[in-house]
């Protein structure tokens, strides 16, 4: 019976180690997913705050410099 319990303990330890290794390898991809969702959030927030572009007022060209009086 003790042998059986030892086998179970070993199996548990193997599962934990495998899970830890898999999680560690997935961390960078997880960070990318988090960033992508944050970007989506920013885009939606920006869309909700989007206002009509106010037309840039057309300024008349400056008058040509007057020639100096002689």
């Amino acid at each position: 019976m003790e042998i059986f319990l030892n086998v179970l303990r070993a199996l548990w330890a193997t599962i934990r180690a495998s899970s830890a290794s898999k999680a560690a390898s997935e961390l960078p991809q997880g960070v990318a997913q988090v960033k992508a969702v944050d970007a989506d959030l920013a885009e939606i927030t920006g869309e909700l705050a989007r206002t009509e572009l106010t037309p840039v007022p057309v300024t008349p060209p400056p008058p040509p410099p007057t020639p100096p009086l002689k």
Binding site: A20, K22, L27, V34, L41, E43, L48
Partner: protein, 137 residues
């Protein structure tokens, strides 16, 4: 007879111990589902919500001041998308924290509950406010 009575509780205790271990292993296997897979699935839902928001937004010239039907629809869709993606962002962060804990071999019980709970919550919110299910399981 007396010997049998003495060994019976011992056997039961061992059986119970084995059962507890087996349960722990089975639960452990169940809880060790890929966190990345959940993150990718949630991101797919977030992308879907954003896409719908932007598509509706194109029909409206001014999302802040616009009061016509297309602007109201766009504003409603984008507000729903915002709710959905905010919930997804929370879930993504919790799953990431769980993954970090798993990677270091720490205690994952509480974090698993938080991650699974927030994922379920985000999925429910997205489905109810905008019908966004994502394309992945």
């Amino acid at each position: 007879m007396a010997h049998q009575l003495q060994t019976q509780p011992r056997l039961s205790l061992l059986t119970l111990t084995i059962a507890v271990w087996l349960c722990a292993i089975i639960l452990g296997l169940g809880a060790c589902g890929s966190g990345l897979q959940s993150q990718v699935a949630l991101r797919s839902i977030a992308d879907q919500a954003k896409k719908d928001c932007l598509a509706q937004g194109r029909q409206c010239a001014d999302m802040v001041k616009g009061t016509d039907k297309s602007c109201v629809t766009a504003s409603t869709t984008c507000t729903a998308a915002l709710e959905c993606v905010q919930a997804i962002s929370t879930a993504e962060n919790r799953i990431q924290t769980l993954q970090e804990t798993r990677a270091t071999g720490g205690d994952t019980m509480t974090k698993t509950i938080e991650a699974k709970g927030s994922e379920a919550s985000a999925r429910a919110i997205c489905k109810s406010v905008g019908g966004w299910n994502g394309n992945l399981p």
